[in-house]
């Protein structure tokens, strides 16, 4: 009982830390002008946190698969709602939520497979994020024409997704990161 409670507190602290990190990365993303005048194009740096949660926990085998999904989901919701209210508007929250949740489910399912690695997962996550965004945008303006943007979003989503996936892979494969994460739940 006692150890369970202690573990719960550590788990909570870890999620809070991931949420704070994700919010900082969201802010960094707003500061970096990367959109080339194309609406919806962004680096997707906060997605790094989703990848870390899904794959760090998978690698250490500390939590059941469903816990990984809810952990990543909680951090995603906190990050989108808080940074949305701080820096952008309600509609931006709507687009981010649609894209974020869709890509989270997609990346979670992929993370269950051992045949696809982190970069591939990240690429598909980036693409599904764009699909979710465009679907909401389509309903907002009631215009099918908005899918005109899909090819260019696909291009940038693939590139940034791959780059971030490699970065996440490099972070996760460092021994220090794994050891730290392991020790976090012990003692």
């Amino acid at each position: 009982m006692h150890s369970q409670g202690r573990r719960g507190v550590r788990h909570l602290a870890l999620l809070a830390m991931f949420s704070a990190l994700a919010m900082i990365l969201s802010y960094v993303e707003i500061l970096l002008p990367f959109s080339f005048g194309i609406p919806g194009v962004k680096l997707g740096i906060p997605n790094l946190i989703t990848l870390l949660i899904l794959y760090l926990e998978k690698g250490t085998g500390k939590n059941a698969a469903l816990v990984r999904l809810t952990d990543a989901g909680i951090v995603l919701l906190i990050r989108i709602v808080v940074t949305g209210l701080l820096f952008t508007n309600v509609y931006a929250i709507l687009y981010s939520l649609a894209g974020g949740l869709l890509s989270l489910v997609c990346m979670f399912l992929i993370s269950l497979s051992d045949r696809i690695g982190i970069p591939g997962c990240s690429v598909l996550g980036g693409i599904t994020h764009n699909l979710g965004q465009l679907t909401v945008a389509m309903f907002v303006v009631s215009q099918l024409k908005i899918w005109y943007y899909f090819p260019i979003l696909l291009f940038f989503g693939t590139l940034t997704g791959f780059a971030l996936g490699i970065l996440a892979y490099m972070i996760i494969s460092r021994r220090g990161v794994r050891d730290y994460y392991d020790r976090f739940f012990e003692g």
């Binding site: 005048g37 696809i116 690429v123 907002v140 005109y148 696909l154």
Partner: protein, 121 residues
């Protein structure tokens, strides 16, 4: 990093390449600019006459559409993000500028496919 990662990466790029090729093969010069607000077509302007016009968007928003030199561009908007203003000028068939906060969609069309419409109008 596995082989499947590279396969996913390159097939996504190949999909982009294919879509891009299809779009550029269908690339024809447009002849008119269609403005729609909240899904309703509100105005059609010919591309070959220079024009500056105010678009009244959803929720009292306002955008300035400028047509000059066979190109359409949104030069001003009172929305917070201004992403429509930063988008490049459009001139070819199916090219689109979107202002999400005002639900304004500006599309170029060739005007040839709806010859009957042109007659009845």
């Amino acid at each position: 990093m596995k082989k499947t990662d590279l396969i996913i990466f390159f097939s996504a790029l190949a999909l982009f390449g294919t879509l891009w090729l299809i779009l550029s093969l269908r690339h024809t010069a447009g002849s008119e600019v269609v403005v729609s607000v909240d899904g309703v077509e509100t105005a059609v302007y010919p591309l070959d006459t220079d024009l500056t016009v105010e678009i009244n968007g959803y929720d009292g928003g306002s955008n300035t559409l400028v047509i000059s030199d066979h190109q359409a561009k949104i030069t001003w908007a009172d929305c917070p993000d201004h992403s429509c203003v930063h988008q490049k000028a459009v001139s070819a068939d199916t090219e689109t500028i979107v202002c999400l906060p005002h639900r304004v969609v500006v599309t170029v069309r060739s005007g040839e496919e709806n010859g009957i419409d042109a007659l009845t109008r």
